[in-house]
């Protein structure tokens, strides 16, 4: 990945919300680079700031949110660098969807219920200067075919006439309508049935191969991330605590939280497993703990974890982690893996 050019670069992004209780730190000091054709999966639990981060990337935050620090630099196809946070309303509108599109959770109310699917497509095209309806229609029908929908029927339906899986496909097709470079997927398979989720995942894989867009993939489901991502970033309490190539993260996690997540996720084909949840619950984002935000729940925590925040450091190629005890975590992970693989062997024999 490292050799490819960077499409989207986020540097030191912090986002806070003003709430009745005080300032809520939803995202703090997040930095990452998204390369061309890469899929970056953001994993983390509810309230870890992954959705806020993505809304922040497209500047879709509600009025009570404030982007405090940071820079979002987007490189368009011509190689021109765009500072997203500095865009005025007009260019922002052009930037959205044609350069960076977003696919929301289809089970929710992401499609306007009183408008035909076709009108939503025409609206989107018109907003970006494509006024030739038949051309747009052809493009949409082709995309519908690619996401394995019955093109004509879906084109002329209302959203409520479609099933959850079909709505999700419509959203994907809509997201790709203007051939964006970056597509953000926000939990696109959550709340879908297993078989539907499978076919969506397959569609996504095929589309990526064919169209070559880069994507940011938000999920709380490790399995989906394992399947689709090239790079995985773990978020906890608004920070990226670990980021690296998918195999590194899954087989050699170096952050206690990542390891905890792995240990809490059952795998279907591994036979009997000993799993462990992470004790406690995620911190209150208004009153964040000092030091490493995970230290209260962390079995590896030492004194310095409570007082100072561990910096993000390079652990291996492309793998960064913010944990004082990363080597212990790595060892522990290997130990656990060997135990579970012996269990598997024991079962198979």
């Amino acid at each position: 990945m490292a050799g490819k050019e960077i499409v989207l670069s986020v540097q030191d992004l912090s986002i806070t919300y003003l709430t009745r209780r005080g300032r809520l730190q939803a995202v703090s000091h997040v930095s990452f680079d998204l390369h061309r054709g890469e899929t970056l999966a953001l994993i983390g639990e509810s309230g870890c700031g992954k959705s806020t981060l993505n809304f922040g990337l497209m500047r879709l935050l509600p009025k009570n949110a404030n982007t405090e620090t940071g820079k979002i630099v987007y490189t368009d196809r011509a190689g021109q660098k765009i500072d997203v946070l500095a865009l005025n309303t007009r260019s922002l509108r052009k930037f959205r969807w044609s350069e960076c599109a977003m696919v929301f959770q289809g089970a929710q109310n992401s499609l306007n219920p009183v408008i035909h699917v076709r009108d939503m497509i025409y609206d989107t095209a018109k907003a970006h200067g494509l006024n030739n309806r038949s051309e747009v229609r052809e493009r949409a029908l082709e995309l519908f075919r690619k996401v394995r929908l019955d093109p004509e029927r879906v084109f002329n339906s209302y959203p409520h006439e479609l099933s959850g899986g079909m709505r999700q496909r419509v959203l994907i097709a809509l997201g790709l309508l203007l051939n964006p470079q970056v597509v953000i997927f926000d939990e696109p398979t959550t709340a879908l049935d297993i078989l539907t989720q499978r076919s969506i995942l397959n569609v996504l894989r095929d589309l990526k191969e064919e169209l070559g867009f880069s994507s940011i993939f938000i999920s709380h489901d490790l399995a989906v991330a394992a399947e689709i991502a090239d790079t995985v970033a773990t978020m906890y309490a608004g920070e990226i605590v670990e980021m690296g190539p998918v195999n590194d993260i899954f087989y050699e996690p170096r952050h206690a939280y990542t390891l905890g997540l792995m240990e809490a996720s059952p795998r279907l084909s591994v036979g009997r497993e000993e799993l462990d949840g992470i004790p406690g619950s995620p911190p209150d984002l208004v009153e964040l703990p000092t030091g490493c935000k995970f230290h209260i729940r962390c079995p590896f925590a030492i004194e310095s974890c409570k007082t100072t925040q561990p910096p993000l450091e390079q652990a291996s190629i492309g793998h960064i982690v913010a944990c004082y005890k990363s080597s212990e975590v790595l060892e522990r992970g290997k130990e656990l893996r060997s135990v579970s693989s012996t269990a598997r062997v024991a079962r198979l024999s």
Binding site: E45, S46, R148, S163, G165, D193, I194, L195, T196, Q197, R198, S199, L201, N202, H220, D221, L222, A223, V224, A226, E227, A229, V246, N247, F250, Y251, G260, L261, M262, A264, S265, P266, R267, L268, S269, V270, G271, R272, E273, L275, D276, G277, I278, P279, S281, P282
Partner: protein, 341 residues
Amino acid sequence: MTTQQPLIELRHVHRHFKKGRTDIPVLQDISLAVHPGEILCLVGESGCGKTTTGKIMVGLLAESSGEVLYEGQPIHGRGRKDKSEYRRSLQIVHQDPFASLNPSHTIGQILSYPLKRHHLVSNRAELRRRIWELLTLVDLTPPGDIVNKYPHQLSGGQRQRVSIARALSVNPRLIVADEAVSMVDVSIRISLLKTLQSLRDRFGIAVVFITHDLALAKYFAWEGRVAVMYLGRVVEIGSTPEIIGSPSHPYTKALISAIPEADPILTRRKETLPLRSDDIPSLVNIPAGCAFHPRCPFFVPGVCDQEVPALEPLNGYGQEVACIPLTQGMGLSIRESNAAS
């Protein structure tokens, strides 16, 4: 399985819902038995009727036809006291932690109502002691931090624990956990399930675990059984390792092959079973014969679309499957012509 009398048994239970003028058959011919202390997982996709089955088991919904037996006796036509006892023996933990506790009572109040109502405690000291005990049992410690709080002051996982404690308060023999962990964060799920498991071990409470997540079912019910449901029917039932390790019914095969794994190499190597159609038929319009036949890659024309398959034993280990080609020894083979059509 054991020859012991089942705790609760459904025999040929059907359930319809009326929506406007159309009748929707949500459950068709369900026969299931749960034995004391057993773990049974109901697995299936949304709309397959697993929640309805759970509600019928605990008596929150009435069956349209068929029989529900509690300890071998029909649940209807019981005396008042008897009925109350049967009611209390079967408890349910709902999916949504934000809807399952009444927002206007404190946790202490929520737990005290059933204890007082059924005279499970004789005085106030005992009541307080019991509440303390219940909260400790579900690992909500120290209880003093919880007891005077309102539900909105607790996290989702804590609320689910309170729900479990509430169900425990009446000394149930069976708890139906209806997707009880699906709205809880990944890191907290396992500890919740462990709490449930420890309760089963300590008190011999049977657990019916309803979920759409097969991996979770596998983890939780390794020593129990799994029943796979599709469009209102049980299509396959058997011990968990058998079902997960060697699924028989085409639908189960498809499900298991479709699930992504939290292991990049494993999941990318997995071969998925290609279905003939991605669309789930609606309950209003269930296909004739085997309901899965329009999507089934092993579909045998003239057989699968004619007769509704019944659950029949497949081998000597208590695994049962509802698939005519399988139970009649025809075997399963993918027909190219069908897959193409």
